[in-house]
């Protein structure tokens, strides 16, 4: 065996996992694809604000996460998913804190998760809510909790906690329970992401943009009356 064959063997095996995953889970994967589209739409709409690029990158990261997922690189896929969540919330945070954005762009500060989800000043705080979308206060706390919980669960894979060592079995192959775990985290973070984007931007968008966003927002968080009201669907 030479080095070419070594890698080629691995990729053949990954490809088997990929084929199996896509057959078994085509519906779930369709949801991920569709969510990436939704996120890219947000990025287009927020453009030319400089944060749009971060959201676009987050969409890319979700696709990368799904690729590592279908080939069975589960730990990597969990880590990517966490990064995507962090990126979107950072973009939102920066959109309200230009100084932090510029410092981050020049590499002089990092993104801190705790800063993003700070209950007093973070992107899911009452303070944000009062200014950017009064009326969402009741729902915000629940989404903050959901963001924290999902982030913590995903972090276990990033830090390689013992449970995650045991869960990931080698050689790599399709693992239904890990796939489902990823999917459940994905569903949670996609709701958090859409909710947070709405909280920050929705009230200030023009009618055309609101129309474009309507379908997926109502699907994700249309159970919130204040959100339905934006689309004239109050009753």
């Amino acid at each position: 065996m030479n080095i070419e064959e070594f890698y080629s063997n691995i990729f053949n095996s990954l490809n088997e996992t990929q084929l199996k995953t896509v057959i078994e889970k085509r519906e779930s994967l369709s949801k991920v694809h569709s969510f990436t589209d939704d996120l890219l739409l947000w990025s287009n709409i927020i453009n030319p604000r400089s944060e749009f690029a971060i959201i676009k990158y987050a969409a890319t990261e979700i696709q990368l996460s799904s690729i590592t997922l279908v080939i069975g690189l589960y730990r990597q896929s969990f880590a990517s998913l966490r990064l995507a969540l962090e990126l979107v919330l950072s973009a939102i945070y920066f959109s309200a804190n230009e100084l932090s954005l510029r410092e981050w762009e020049t590499g002089s500060t990092d993104i801190y998760w705790n800063q993003l989800i700070d209950p007093e000043n973070g992107v899911l705080s009452n303070r944000f809510c009062k200014v950017f979308f009064p009326g969402l206060e009741d729902s915000t706390a629940a989404y903050l909790e959901s963001a924290k919980k999902t982030y913590r669960e995903l972090s276990e894979f990033v830090h390689g906690n013992i449970g995650t060592w045991e869960a990931i079995v080698f050689p790599l192959s399709f693992d239904e329970s890990l796939f489902n775990k990823w999917m459940s985290s994905f569903v949670d973070i996609s709701k958090v992401i859409i909710f947070s984007l709405c909280l920050k931007f929705l009230k200030h968008l023009d009618k055309t943009s609101i129309n474009q966003l309507e379908a997926h927002i109502l699907e994700q968080i249309g159970d919130i009356a204040a959100i339905r009201q934006i689309f004239d669907k109050a009753s």
């Binding site: 994967l29 694809h33 890219l40 009230k203 200030h204 129309n211 379908a215 159970d223 339905r228 009201q229």
Partner: protein, 538 residues
Amino acid sequence: MPEFFFRTEDIRSENIQELYVGSDIDREIIDSLKSSQSVILEGSRGTGKSFLLRMAEVELDKDFTNAKILPVNISFVASSLIHTSDPEQFKNWMLALICNRLIRAFRKKGFFLMQSQATSLLCGNTTTDSIDNNEERFQRISKSYEESYKNVNLPISIVDLPDVISLKDAVEELCQENNISRICLLFDEAIHIFRQEQQRQFFTLFRDLRSPYINCNAAVYPGVTSYGNTFEMSHDATYLRIERDILEEGYVNRMKGIVLKQANESLITTLNQYGENFSVLAYAASGNPRMLLKTVDRCPRMRINDVNQVIKDYYRTDIWTEHTGLGIKYSGHRSLVDWGREFVEKDVLIATRQKNEIRADFQESTCYFWVHRDAPEPVKESLRMLEYTEIIRKHSESVRATNSHFGTRYELKLVGVLSLEATPTAIGLDLIKKLTIKRMTEYGMNSPRFSAIENIKIEEQTDEELRTILLAQLDRSIDVLDLSQWQKNTLKQNGYNAIRSILESSELDMQNIRYIGKVRSRQIRNATLAELLEYLSG
């Protein structure tokens, strides 16, 4: 006290099934909606039409991998906003909405990814980078119609819209290509109760869309009057009504189940402790879950005095206010609306009460009345409106009365009968136990009660009139809006007195006012639109 969901829209899809308390009839309805028949589901407000539609959608969606039936749920609630000079406006608007929702549904299941921006993200631009895809094109058409009330003469381009046959062909092709057995369309708020032209175009479309690959289902209110030239109920659809008959065995338990699904510990204890009081409320709601939840919400402690008060208040204030409101809104129907109220309050209820007093010794009571099938048309129309606002319910048709003539048996909502009593809880359960459909107050073909309205000519509410209603709303003062007093004063000082002035000005115009920036101008416009829509959709 837990916070109840009064409306299906407030419930997340993933929670729908948890809240479901089904009777056999509900189950049959859901199964019919899922089956290949085309179903027209009739029910008054709050009876659970949307809920059953969502249940069917969620179940089909979960079972898609096996059954390969793709559910698509579409609401036509915005039909009141459509006012163009296009004679086929409703059909075109509905088609655009259907196309948009269909494409989205296909895409969400992983078919039809070609036009997507996400597809080219990681491996370069293989097809098209344009986000100007069909899904959005159709949405633009439907939105233009929904904004047409602002300007009737603005032309809407429908060149991109397929005709029904091409749409059916496209669906057939897509289904075959992707191994999908059929599309199950679920139309919520399918018809506008006062727009006959919308009703005609809807039922024609409903019929024309049917194919081996598409089946249509629609939730409608009682009181549809126009089915168009081609639609025939017996041929083109299965007609189902949501029924929760108060005389059915296990009625109270099923209604209790609905509340318990959303109850917390303390409410569960209360319901068990004051079971009888709850039963009275359950009967008062006459099978309407939304009404039951609303009344329970108002007397969480279930004490006798609270329950009695709630029954009286709900009937006097909530229900009648809504009914009378219909007459104010649709002034062409005002005399019918008002006559209906008179008829129920001054005649039917009093006659019913007398009957119940007299028949008490015979262990009989009633909440039913009968109207001859040849009663004047305005009477029937007036009764339809009473059905719409849930004051009466059609119990059964072709019922023989004592004179052996045929007619329709109606049921008075029990809340009305009970609200006349000093203490509804004292007599409620006894009265209900004695209920029999055999006793009913009868109103013959030429009942003197009908003389007041038999000569009223019912005219179809024209679009022009409906638009007048809409425009009249635009002329209302901004005082009715949900804005702060300061905002209202500032707006008025700057010449914004009527709702119209806000909707017609741009946000930028408004931002010229001191202290009104981007956020406030948007907030003001949204409050204005929300108010308008809430009024129009009742």
